[in-house]
């Protein structure tokens, strides 16, 4: 499968790094694996890092919106970082930036999340 997902934890924040192509075909696996991590004890916030994401379509938007709802239910915050121009355009078109903050890189996102605590 042409999608790779890597996870890490920084205090209460789950960091998910996606690379490759996020479409309908790869969305199910990403959704399942992210929900498993989000369900773990002590996970409150989600940082989605998209530096190496080469392709995304509206199926990816569905995955992001779904995870946003989950995290919000848990009382946490979801943010994105390292968004490349094509993905940026999709997120903008769907109004995602009205509900989610975007950061240049992981470390600036993490320090913001910590201030917000």
């Amino acid at each position: 499968m042409n999608l790779h997902m890597e996870t890490a934890r920084h205090r209460e924040t789950l960091i998910v790094r996606l690379s490759g192509e996020l479409d309908h075909h790869t969305a199910d696996l990403v959704r399942m694996r992210m929900d498993e991590e989000i369900g773990r004890e002590g996970c409150r916030n989600l940082l989605l890092s998209l530096k190496s994401l080469q392709f995304m379509d509206s199926s990816g938007l569905g995955v992001i919106l779904g995870r946003y709802k989950l995290i919000k239910q848990k009382g946490g915050k979801m943010v994105v970082s390292d968004v490349n121009p094509p993905v940026f355009r999709l997120l903008e078109m769907s109004g995602l930036f009205k509900i989610m903050s975007i950061y240049e890189n992981e470390s600036s996102a993490l320090s913001e999340l910590e201030v917000a605590l």
């Binding site: 042409n2 479409d23 075909h25 392709f55 379509d57 509206s58 199926s59 569905g62 779904g66 094509p86």
Partner: protein
């Protein structure tokens, strides 16, 4: 006499999600003869992905026996794409085209497919018949890298 510079291709495949990336890459390779920019390639890949995914999920409801057909043609600097299925069709086209509307929220669809196709292409038309299938016709003029450098 003017040289005939029209070119075309047709691609048919099973309605399986594995074929979504195959469809995008194939159309991109066909259009590469116009020397498109990275952004133009991304736009075309994205709209192909949207239309093919819709045929698979909504048209055939994931029944892999369904067949998706893509016809692509190039005339001068313009690409025409037709993406068709013989699936269940769309009852209310106006509703279906609304941004964020989806008939399958339980599958976490975002409802942005038609909005993206409309935004990324110069022309966009949907023809659909309930029980007969859906056909999406889209056009885009490729400005091409050559034009940018001249």
């Amino acid at each position: 006499m003017k040289e005939n510079n029209r070119n075309h291709m047709t691609l048919q495949f099973a309605a399986k999600s594995e074929n979504e990336s195959f469809a995008r890459v194939t159309v991109a390779a066909f259009v590469s003869q116009l020397d498109p920019t990275m952004e133009e390639i991304t736009d075309l890949k994205t709209v192909v992905s949207e239309a093919v995914t819709n045929s698979i999920i909504h048209g055939y409801e994931e029944n892999p026996e369904g067949i998706v057909t893509i016809s692509a043609s190039i005339e001068e600097d313009t690409v025409t794409l037709v993406i068709e299925d013989k699936g269940r069709g769309i009852e209310d086209l106006e509703l279906a085209k609304q941004p964020l509307y989806t008939s399958k929220p339980e599958l976490e669809r975002s409802g942005m497919g038609f909005t993206i196709m409309e935004n990324f292409m110069d022309e966009f038309d949907v023809a659909s018949e309930v029980g007969g299938g859906t056909s999406i016709r889209m056009k885009k003029r490729i400005v091409s890298k050559k034009a940018l450098y001249n």
